[in-house]
Subunit: 646 residues, 2 copies
């Protein structure tokens, strides 16, 4: 798939594939050193370029609109929804601006912070809405600066709905979206991609449909890159609007806003807000079933699917924008039926990338945070450079500390009561801890009949890849090798492999076997004796909470444990075991015993003291089997250790 | 072999293997990003550190002394000798300073240029001698600055032999080696490793043996790092000297100078120059056989071997320094008999490294110069940065031009007459050129009974690795696919493999199949049609002398074609196919047709016009088969091409 991943460096121009045109001897003077082994063009394009590329290639796409939640708990849930819906492959999401909700603040429910989380922690291309309501010019500039600092690259510029019945003049502010667009372009030049709203039926306050079209053209001329429309109920409405736009010379992309009807009340509310009229044929269907949510949703899905099909079939529409109302089911259903939901999301890298522009080149991470990518992103958010091609390359500073385990985007999805059910209302000894680990691995319910679906080090059930090791993991956890991270060795599987594959197709991926666990000092003593036999083969790092550190790794050199070989590129080695970052991870891994587990129990309670004992006395161990073409020897290492102990 | 390759980065100290000592939480703040994936500790140590490490580990070593040749031709031969003797693994070589030979000049026979060539082009750790003769202080400073600029890191500081019978005072200069040592330390601080001479029998001009020992101690106190001795004929002489040195407090390494007697006249000359006396028992053997060179050499080898054994057996000697007299046989023989000659030289990288300090981190090169490493080094000599870990990383400028194909260190070892015998006194058409290529591949003699042992693009016989492809190469060359570079695909052979292995042991090496050749535009037209079938699998670059360039490679991205996976490190990818450097190589590869081949013939002669025609009309093609785990498809590509043509 050579062309799929082409990318132009700044020093390009001359030597690209040109089927025989003269590139001359001049080109030989160019430097050939592109700074990034571009794996995923999307990471390197701005939104309007992505749209353009989709249009050129005829690929259809979708996007999703969300509003900021009201409560912190709802924010946790929304972030999980972002993660799940990201899997379907939206081109972008957008987050609305709620003037009443302190939208630019650092609250976990603010528009700004939700958008920040989507970009940085969920890796989603994100548009932040911004309205003129209740903001002076200076407020707006400050808020745009903040958005830029957080890594947001796209703004939907709106006037906003009037707070009362009618729009009131903003002193020192703007009264029209076009002025906000101009302001963004004046103050931030071409930094942001700017989106504006289009009204297929004309804006309710406009003198006329034609006058509103002229307004829209003004917004585009002022610097808007594309248009998203207000919802509508008939495909003809949009198609006529689009033709009218083109007729008056609007050439930028116009994306229809799709509203799958999900319930009687939400429809009424939205219609009231947007001053739209629901067509009689829809009312006729809905009114009789208004108390039957499921029936209304089914109808809404049907209606949306058929309208979307008409739009796509017209040949004028390539992308669809969904008003999700922060719900998942209806929109996902529509997308799946349209064939737009990505059923086989290819991973560009083995870990979840962040969409912050400064992390564009990031393609190497320590394996330790594999199950806690948001924590890794949080702890490296102040870095100016990200490793590109090799971990050894980055001149980045140290890891930030993770003091606040309760930031909503790092927080466990499960409440305290559920965690207690999973991890034990009352622990009776180290063995009851072994059992929690074992139940997490096997998926079997614990003594009290509760499944253990998360652990302090991993908020999700076992990864599919880890499932490959399930049997062995179960065995060792039962014996007090408390595993928190592992991967099997892979000796060249296709990059399209559904379980271990990543990166562009046509490549081969490799892994060294990895095992990371907590265990007692008795076991460590035996383990160290056994490891002498494996000196040439196994690299290890063993550390306790005080930082006493035992390793046989060549000083400070990272060990690449996941890498991929692709057509026409340098080698990508996205995961490393790195001796120094391990010591940062160690602090976090040990703290999670206390922060997530011990603190579930009363102070001084036996349960809490058991966890505290483990925290104080156990070691964190990682093992790498360097001989990836041979059978993984790490299980043998563990067996030998127990044999020595008996 | 984890420990074999350990290396300490500047930011190290805390997290190294320490068997349990506290490395504390401080260490977690260190940056873990070492700038180099250290493959070969030797490249990162200065000479005195290498000696120290050998002493600590009990490894024995040897070094070789050469003098600058008198003629340009002799210089070419000496450089070939360097390359051959480098294979035996000397710790260093040294090049003497010949005041009469314009030693600091840019002449190809000067001490400075020979030492420069040894360091930069042969990758040898090199000591440049420097004497006080005929030089002012300022001359010496200028010459040391030049040496430093050229990448020389070690100086042997000598007073030098008097030009007449007795030493004449140097005005504005130095009269004692100790003053030269002090000067080096004053002007260049610790930059150079400094060696001084020791005289096991005392310097001939010294008042006494004891006075000379005191002189030696002064030289060491002035900053010398180690001592190499004058030759001697009995091991007792050296061992006594060494004990006497230790007795007066000389603690630095003292390396015995070994002189294998190679002929009657050279012995007499050396003895005269060094004012040594040959012991009677040696004279008694030699005088009767003085006209029998072979007998004297055999005796000399015997004598040297037994003396060296005595020295090594004493436990006081770990390294031996050989006065080679620029000859190869006797010294090599002695070293082989002592077991010091490295019979299985492990390659740190698949290509010959340079020993210039600024190239220490270099570990990636384009494959194109694989058979012309000296030309590559020459054309990148002005670079300030060298690619480290990834080709994409280097911020280095463009390649320098290669205008002077007659620089002695780039020159063919074969004279014109021999080249004509190999490549044809008279060419009759393109087919006679095909035949030259074919004979080079097969090793069979050409029509006139001469073996073709070199080509313009390769001054040496076919590499062992290329021999693996011999049969296929023969077939395609016969048909006008004129191959100049190739490698087989390798899917994970041990790094110790005698043919394709490189790097530390315990690793695995990989290669993508590569084929580079000149061919006619007719064949290129068919080839391009065939390549469409292999679009996802084969990357190609096809260019003619005018720079018309056809490729399917992702813009400007290098394709890694040789890489290695080693215990406890990042991945090393030392060879890439890089689109832009290919255009620099193209200029060189086409020019070699003219510079090395066409110019053998009279202007306007038919032979010359045939080569000129090929130069003007053929294309240079390179092909990479990205599917390294499968059978190499490049032969099938060529077969398909010929099938299409028929």
């Amino acid at each position: 798939m050579v062309n799929e991943t082409q990318h132009t460096c700044s020093a390009s121009s001359s030597s690209k594939s040109d089927g025989g045109s003269s590139s001359g001897s001049e080109s030989s003077k160019d430097s050939s050193r592109c700074s990034t082994p571009v794996l995923d063009t999307d990471r390197h394009e701005r939104l309007r370029e992505k749209m353009r590329r989709r249009l050129d290639s005829g690929d259809r796409w979708f996007s999703l609109e969300f509003f900021p939640p009201r409560t912190a708990n709802a924010a946790v849930n929304l972030i999980s929804r972002f993660d799940r819906m990201a899997a379907g492959g939206p081109l972008f999401i957008d987050v609305t601006w709620h003037p009443a909700g302190d939208p630019a603040s650092d609250k976990e429910t603010s528009s700004m912070i939700i958008a920040n989380t989507a970009v940085n922690y969920c890796g989603l291309e994100t548009i932040l809405h911004m309205t003129c309501c209740n903001q002076t010019k200076d407020d707006i500039t400050v808020n745009l600066q903040k958005a830029k600092r957080l890594g947001l690259k796209n703004i939907m510029a709106l006037r906003g709905d009037p707070i009362g019945e009618e729009w009131e003049e903003e002193a020192d502010g703007f009264n029209y979206a076009v002025d906000l667009v101009k302001h963004i372009r004046n103050e931030f030049d071409d930094y942001f991609d700017v989106c504006v709203a289009g009204y297929p039926k004309g804006h309710p306050e406009a003198e006329s449909y034609e006058a509103d079209l002229r307004r829209l053209k003004e917004k585009v001329l002022a610097g808007a890159d594309f248009i998203i429309t207000q919802l509508f109920f008939r495909s003809e409405t949009f198609l006529k609007f689009m033709k009218d736009c083109q007729a008056i010379g609007i050439t930028c992309p116009i994306i229809p806003g799709i509203f799958p009807i999900q319930g009687y009340h939400s429809l009424r509310q939205l219609v009231k807000l947007s001053k739209l009229e629901v067509p009689q044929e829809i009312k006729d269907v809905i009114e009789p079933i208004k108390d039957n949510d499921a029936a209304i949703r089914n109808y809404g899905v049907e209606l949306a699917v058929s309208m979307c099909r008409e739009l796509l079939d017209s040949g004028m529409v390539h992308g669809l924008h969904f008003y999700t109302l922060n719900r998942e089911v209806a929109t996902t259903e529509v997308l799946k039926r349209l064939g737009l939901w990505n059923e086989d999301p290819r991973r560009p890298l083995p870990w979840a990338v962040s969409a912050h522009p400064k992390r564009r080149v990031e393609d190497v991470r320590p394996i330790f945070w594999a199950s806690r990518p948001k924590s890794y992103i949080y702890r490296t958010q102040e870095w100016d450079d990200f490793p590109n091609g090799r971990w050894g390359n980055s001149s980045s500073p140290a890891f930030g500390e993770l003091k606040d385990y309760y930031l909503f985007y790092l927080k466990s999805k499960s409440p305290r009561e559920e965690l207690l059910k999973m991890w034990g209302e009352e622990l009776t000894g180290e063995e009851s801890v072994f059992e929690v680990f074992t139940c997490y691995i096997t998926g079997e319910p614990n003594k009290n009949g509760h499944k253990v679906t998360c652990m302090p080090w991993n908020d999700d059930p076992l990864a599919t890849e880890t499932n490959l090791l399930k049997e062995q993991l179960e065995k060792v956890n039962r014996r007090g090798i408390l595993t928190i991270n592992s991967q099997p060795n892979i000796n060249g599987k296709p990059s399209t492999d559904p379980i271990v594959g990543w990166g562009p197709s046509g490549g081969y991926v490799f892994q060294k076997a990895y095992l990371e666990f907590f265990t007692s000092s008795e076991i460590v003593t035996a383990l160290l004796k056994v490891l002498k036999k494996y000196e040439l083969r196994v690299n290890y790092h063993i550390v306790n909470v005080k930082g006493q550190n035992i390793t046989n790794a060549p000083d400070l050199q990272p060990n690449a444990v996941t890498w991929g070989i692709f057509p026409g590129r340098e080698i990508i080695q996205p995961t490393v075991v790195d001796p120094v970052s391990f010591l940062s991870w160690k602090d976090e891994a040990f703290a999670l015993w206390i922060e997530q587990w011990a603190k579930l129990y009363e102070e001084e309670s036996p349960s809490r003291m058991i966890i505290q004992y483990i925290h104080d006395n156990y070691y964190l161990v990682n093992l790498v089997d360097n001989d990836f073409p041979l059978e993984n020897c790490l299980w043998q290492v563990v067996d030998d250790t127990f044999e020595l102990l008996n």
